[in-house]
């Protein structure tokens, strides 16, 4: 049954007409020997970009499940007691929106620097710092919101509304902290060797961050509506 195989074919780099739709196969193997990445045009999707969308869909699914849990629990409840949302949430919301805007500015500055359109990397670094600062303001602000509820005697198990409030905001903050970790990674890479930062890395981080902002707007709406 055994046979001798012909040797595998080797790739010849060929011009391609399609762009990044992934349908023609990924083009992983086109890094030139001198490792000058700027000389290479790669139309395939970047795993970091694809991965982040996939990850975000899982996160969206998780919050969809939590939302449906809230609806089912409310439907079964005789103990649904409305709580007043801590006003600091609205300030936190503004901080998160502002951080998204700052990150978008930073992303464009980074791209300009990488395209050699901008000589200094300081503006990009500044905007990344602003994003990070506003993100931290949001996280600390959420902590103050929890303190406010605690001061009113509303703890995690007090009633279903407070339970869902802590779960929704807690799970979201965990994800925001993950985003801050991603931002830190981007900043470290950008500072140590700006050229080693891939566009896809900062793009993926910013998609994630913007998604956290949108997700928070959605959660705030649900909390406001149901709790």
């Amino acid at each position: 049954m055994a046979t001798t195989l012909p040797p595998p074919q080797t790739v010849e780099e060929q011009p391609r007409s399609t762009h990044g739709n992934g349908l023609g196969g990924g083009f992983r193997h086109l890094a030139p020997a001198d490792n000058n990445l700027r000389a290479v045009k790669d139309p395939a999707g970047e795993p970091a970009r694809t991965g982040i969308w996939v990850g975000l869909s899982a996160i969206a699914m998780m919050f969809a499940a939590l939302t449906s849990a809230l609806y089912v629990r409310e439907g079964a409840a005789t103990d649904w007691q409305h709580i007043a949302l801590p006003p600091i949430l609205y300030f936190n919301t503004l901080a998160l929106i502002a951080s998204s805007i700052a990150l978008e500015v930073a992303r464009r500055r980074v791209a300009a620097f990488m395209r050699n359109q901008e000589a200094s990397q300081s503006p990009a670094t500044l905007w990344l710092n602003v994003t990070m600062g506003l993100g931290l303001v949001f996280v600390i602000g959420q902590y103050f919101a929890w303190l406010k509820l605690r001061s009113e005697g509303l703890y995690l198990p007090t009633n279903p509304n407070s339970s869902f409030f802590y779960v929704f905001t807690g799970v979201h903050v965990v994800h925001v902290v993950g985003g801050l970790g991603g931002l830190t990674r981007v900043m470290v890479k950008f500072r140590s060797s700006a050229r080693s930062l891939r566009r896809s890395t900062i793009d993926a981080t910013s998609y994630y961050w913007h998604f956290m902002g949108l997700l928070w707007l959605y959660l705030l709406f649900v909390l406001w509506l149901k709790l």
Partner: protein, 591 residues
């Protein structure tokens, strides 16, 4: 298109022992680690099932040594009714999560998906490593439940609330054991999500030149579709486990209703919904069935085509059917809850898509059978297990028609009929797929052939044995034999005990037959005949690697180009009756 975006090789060859064999970034090593973990889990689960089967028919006979595992649960080696349920819980959890999810999907998928699409590795090798080791931690947490407190939980692998949520009042193992269970599954969900993310990004982005989606082997498609299902299913179980843990540890009342009195203790909770847990769990639980079976479907289709030496009647139809099953799998979770007290009209709503799932499943079966008809099938261990898979898939699937209908399910619910159904269609069928995959890919994974003689003995004994175990389950169910009982002392159940004895003998026999497989696996690993590069004359890319096992970057620095779909069999070519995917030659053009 932007410049500077190319994604070069992720990592160099491993140099240290730890990086090579323990915290490896190489998808092949990680695949083997998953396989090893699944092997440990499956034999643990099998031994648990032996203990249960022995206890069922000889409830008063001590099982030597069992008292060492649990003095309370098995005093003097005799299993208590509670400990029976604890063993059952661990059997189910180990088998569903750590065997049926890990072996066909994570193990083989990790090893062969990148190779089959011509990639050097997974898209995120570090995530991949984290994914395995997180799974390993989940396994350790789960197994630890045997050794702490009063043993593992007794709420079944479905951990139905509210008893799973209230703590120690609901029985032995429900204090620490159930918390460990929740934690283990929580961690397992994170691992599975990381894995699914990796599979999807790898499939979409790392295909080599010419490897269009349409040219991917069926089994790669199966892993891809499974990872999509996995991504959305585990994303629901994850928060469900979080809420369960909060109910247990933080005093919340997501799943625990008001006025619940357990073991004469009024539970300090109010307003929760036990049905909410069932909804969340089964929204994950039913897709989980397809997470187990779709990779096996892919493996079997891939191997069968190679051994039939001709294409399927339509391999694309199989891919579409898998997509259809994946889509429908999210609409049917309520069929596990016909008797849960939910609105009877919703039972009809869930019954309809459940019956619809039989359509793609039947189409696939007809394609397999129609393709096999008249083919000159090469009989070897792998192809035999494929036949075994089809047989089990059909035999177990047919009973699904009955269970999908609420009026019949009212009678059959929670009987051995259900146990027989899911063990055949989900458990044994998927395991048959894993066996087929093992016999088929072992030469590539190790560079050695497995013994065909032992493989065939293994197949026939396993096929006969599993039918002997699970077919009578259907009869027992029709006779009204309720599941989860630890002994049969009721008048109407006593006459069924001889059938149970037969099943117990069959289980011991079938389990013992697996030792042939284990022997074959380890003996062949070291002493098997050296494998040729392409022993099965198969066309897909894993058979184009320069060595067996493949080097760390899979293709030894060569970059493959794909010219064909992977099912160019029964053609005239310079290599014989098949064309490698990498061959630029056209069928019929013998140079």
């Amino acid at each position: 298109m932007a410049e500077g975006q190319v994604h070069v090789a992720h990592h160099g060859p491993p140099t240290s022992f730890i990086r090579k064999h323990v915290f490896s970034l190489d998808h092949k090593v990680i695949g083997k680690q998953y396989y090893g973990l699944a092997l440990v889990a499956v034999f643990t689960g099998m031994v648990l099932s032996w203990i249960m089967r022995i206890h069922l028919v000889w409830p008063n006979s001590p099982i030597p040594g069992l008292q060492w595992l649990s003095k309370v649960g098995a005093p003097g080696g005799i299993v208590t009714p509670e400990y029976y349920l604890q063993l059952m819980t661990m059997h189910g959890t180990l088998m569903v999560f750590f065997v049926l999810t890990n072996a066909p999907f994570a193990a083989f998928g990790n090893y062969f998906l990148p190779i089959q699409i011509g990639a050097e590795d997974m898209a995120f090798p570090r995530f991949n490593m984290m994914s395995f080791w997180t799974t390993f931690v989940a396994f350790i947490i789960l197994v630890a439940a045997f050794f702490v407190g009063d043993g593992p939980p007794l709420s079944g692998w479905t951990a139905y609330a509210p008893l799973s949520a209230v703590g120690g009042d609901s029985g032995p193992g429900e204090a620490v054991g159930q918390t460990l269970w929740g934690l283990s599954i929580f961690v397992f969900c994170i691992a599975s999500l990381l894995g699914a993310l990796n599979f999807i990004a790898t499939t979409l982005d790392l295909r080599t030149k010419g490897m269009t989606l349409a040219r991917m082997p069926i089994v790669s498609w199966a892993w891809f579709i499974t990872s999509c299902i996995s991504l959305l299913a585990f994303a629901v179980l994850l928060p469900a486990c979080l809420l369960l843990i909060l109910d247990r540890l933080a005093g919340t009342s997501f799943f625990i209703p008001s006025g619940l009195n357990v073991s004469d203790h009024l539970q300090p909770h109010q307003g929760g919904s036990p049905l909410l847990w069932q909804h969340l769990f089964w929204f994950f639980g039913h897709p989980e069935v397809y997470i187990a079976i779709l990779p096996a479907i892919g493996i079997v289709s891939h191997i069968l085509i190679c051994n039939m030496r001709k294409p399927m009647l339509s391999h694309k139809a199989i891919i579409y059917c898998m997509m259809g099953i994946g889509f429908l799998s999210y609409m049917v979770w309520g069929h596990h809850m016909f008797l849960s007290g939910m609105n009877p009209f919703s039972a009809l709503v869930f019954s309809f898509p459940t019956l619809m799932i039989t359509i793609p499943a039947t189409i696939m079966t007809l394609i397999w059978l129609g393709s096999l008809y008249g083919s000159n099938l090469r009989i070897n261990s792998a192809s035999l297990f494929c036949i075994g898979f089809i047989s089990m898939f059909v035999s177990g699937g047919v009973s699904g028609f009955f269970l999908a209908q609420p009026s019949i399910d009212i009678y059959l619910h929670a009987t051995y009929f259900v146990v027989g159904h899911f063990h055949m269609v989900m458990g044994v069928a998927a395991i048959m797929g894993v066996f087929a995959g093992t016999y088929f890919w072992f030469p590539k994974m190790t560079g050695r052939m497995m013994s065909e003689t032992l493989g065939k003995w293994h197949f026939f004994l396993t096929l006969i044995g599993t039918y002997a175990i699970f077919m009578p389950f259907h009869y027992l169910g029709l006779a009204g034999n309720v599941r989860r009982y630890s002994a049969f002392t009721d008048d109407y159940l006593v006459p069924l005990v001889p059938v149970h004895k037969f099943i117990t003998y069959a289980a011991l026999f079938t389990g013992a037959a697996q030792l042939i497989f284990i022997f074959n696996l380890f003996y062949s690993r070291f002493k098997g005949a050296p494998a040729p590069d392409n022993p099965w004359e198969c066309t897909s890319l894993e058979w184009s690697t320069p060595s067996s096992p493949p080097p760390f970057d899979n293709f030894g620095g060569q970059h493959l180009v794909v010219y064909h779909d992977p099912y160019q069999y029964g053609v005239k070519s310079s290599t014989g009756d098949y064309l490698m995917q990498t061959s630029p030659e056209r069928a019929g053009e013998t140079p």
